[in-house]
């Protein structure tokens, strides 16, 4: 049943899921932009963030500790993955990189399934964010509003890191031309490790913040991986603002189409991606292709 209230509520849903997609896509896009490696294990990073946070919550009962633990855990997994495996694939063909990250994704998902089983795990929102809030024009689950604010703050933090710090300056330069960054005396391999860690942590952070909305299971990241790719392509590969714009567009398309017929929501998203590829192959905010 279409109604004005329903429409506003769905737009809000779209905003929340769009912001979340923007954060996950930001991680994927800075990794691909800087390292040239398409990380098919990115969905698994999202899932690991959820599980890392859930374990911390189980032991401490604290949402804050859960978010911090989930994020740091995935940051460390990302760093270890880059140092141990991905680094050996920089000079190999893209199909090798795709296969190894795809394989790692399977290992992570099945490893978690082996240890924790396939049943869903619940991480409840903190006490103050439970229940619903009356916004005047509609009532809305409080945690979703909180999640939106948390994710927007995280995106803002990522923006500040990328655009207001020296590390961010190196990363932005590395996205354009990592060889030149090396010629200027900067060890690009350290930069790659850091970028991979930060990119993975962005997905992990999203995974634990999302856990009270959609309970986690080992394959929770699979759907997000596909959606995130679409977001990155719509926004422009390697572009942080593109990932944010793409995420917001994707969130609204998914949510508003679901209002009419959920079966078509992802189809509409792929149609949007196809249109972008046809008329602006670099993506909405993408720049020149990497070397």
């Amino acid at each position: 049943m279409l109604s004005w209230g329903n429409f506003i509520s769905q737009m809000f849903n779209g905003l929340v899921s769009g912001a979340l997609l923007a954060l996950i896509a930001s991680g994927l896009t800075i990794i691909y932009g800087t390292l040239g490696v398409l990380n098919l294990a990115h969905g698994a990073m999202f899932m690991l963030g959820g599980y890392g946070g859930w374990i911390a919550y189980t032991y401490t009962g604290s949402y804050t500790v859960a978010v911090a633990a989930g994020t740091i855990f995935v940051l460390l997994v990302g760093v270890a993955m880059e140092r141990g495996i991905i680094r050996h694939f920089y000079n190999r063909p893209p199909e090798d990189q795709l296969l190894v990250t795809f394989g790692l994704g399977i290992v992570f998902v099945e490893g978690v399934r082996l240890v924790f089983g396939s049943l869903i795990k619940m991480t409840p929102p903190p006490e103050i964010f439970r229940g619903i809030t009356n916004l005047g024009f509609m009532v809305y689950p409080t945690y979703r509003i909180a999640a939106l604010v948390i994710v927007v703050v995280a995106l803002g933090a990522l923006y500040l890191i990328l655009y207001r710090t020296r590390i961010g300056m190196i990363v932005r330069a590395g996205i354009e031309d990592s060889t030149m960054v090396g010629s200027l005396g900067i060890n690009v391999f350290k930069v790659f490790m850091l970028v991979f860690g930060i990119g993975a942590a962005a997905a992990g952070f999203a995974g634990i913040v999302n856990a009270p909305i959609v309970s986690i299971a080992p394959d929770v990241g699979d759907r997000y991986l596909v959606l995130t790719f679409v977001v990155v392509i719509i926004g422009g590969v390697g572009s942080f603002p593109g990932a944010v714009l793409g995420g917001l567009i994707a969130g609204q398309l998914l949510s508003l189409t679901s209002m009419i017929d959920p079966a078509y929501s992802e189809i509409v998203l792929f149609v949007a991606m196809t249109l972008v590829l046809m008329f602006r192959p670099r993506g909405l905010l993408g720049t020149a292709g990497r070397e």
Binding site: E176, T179, L184, G185, I186, A288
Partner: protein, 232 residues
């Protein structure tokens, strides 16, 4: 002892052998030009020195330290800088960020003001993004990015290519000032007159081999050598 000593340097692109046992040396405070036809191996020589192309065999000693086979960032830290032919400015960073980034890991970096005194145009455009610069401004920025690291040796790959004559004159004046101040330079240039006027010594490279070594005065008196190897 020379600042840079290269011996038996061999480089490949895939299976294609590009440099054959290249030997050359560059003294401290010297300006050396490397001339040759298109595809002779000039740029590959510079890239092999800088570690952007990894030489397959041979020795490169910079100030006594062996650098052949080292990654580019280590070679940069030991005091070498390459100004690429394509300039490779970071378009998403502004002029000042490009310069700051270049100086981040330099042991003795130039203050920004020194760069801006040498290139006043860059000071005017300090907030402009790299993509918004003209070709001449990009080339100034590429040179500035190398100089800010206070390198022992600068490799310039076709710095005057595609620039308006008035900009070329400006850049040549800058190069001359640098040389007079004692900066060691290796210059690859298609503009033979410019190269001869700037350099103390010249190597001619042909099909990946060092074919001839002379001073600019000797080459001016022996135009048949320039004719034979460079077609001018």
């Amino acid at each position: 002892m020379s600042l840079l000593e290269v011996s038996g340097l061999n480089s490949f692109y895939g299976d294609s052998h590009v440099l054959f046992d290249v030997d050359l040396h560059v003294g401290r405070n010297e300006v050396v030009a490397l001339l040759g036809r298109n595809g002779a191996g000039k740029s590959t020589t510079l890239k092999s020195l800088m570690g952007v192309v990894r030489p397959r065999s041979g020795h490169v000693r910079l100030d006594g330290a062996e650098i052949a086979g080292q990654p580019a960032h280590e070679i940069a830290r030991l005091g070498m800088q390459l100004v690429h032919e394509e300039r490779r400015i970071f378009g998403s960073l502004n002029v000042e960020e490009n310069i700051i980034l270049a100086g981040l890991t330099a042991p003795n970096r130039w203050p920004l003001e020194r760069i801006y005194t040498m290139f006043p145009r860059l000071k005017e455009r300090r907030e402009s993004r790299g993509t918004d610069l003209s070709g001449g401004e990009q080339q100034m920025l590429a040179v500035a990015r190398a100089l800010v690291r206070d390198p022992k040796i600068v490799l310039l790959d076709e710095p005057f290519e595609g620039l308006a004559p008035v900009i070329v004159q400006d850049l040549m004046r800058t190069c001359r000032e640098l040389a007079q101040a004692g900066q060691t330079i290796v210059l690859v240039e298609q503009n033979i007159a410019a190269a001869l006027s700037l350099s103390d010594r010249v190597y001619i490279i042909n099909n990946g081999h060092i074919a001839h070594e002379a001073t600019p005065a000797e080459l001016r008196e022996a135009p048949e050598i320039l004719q034979r190897y460079l077609g001018v």
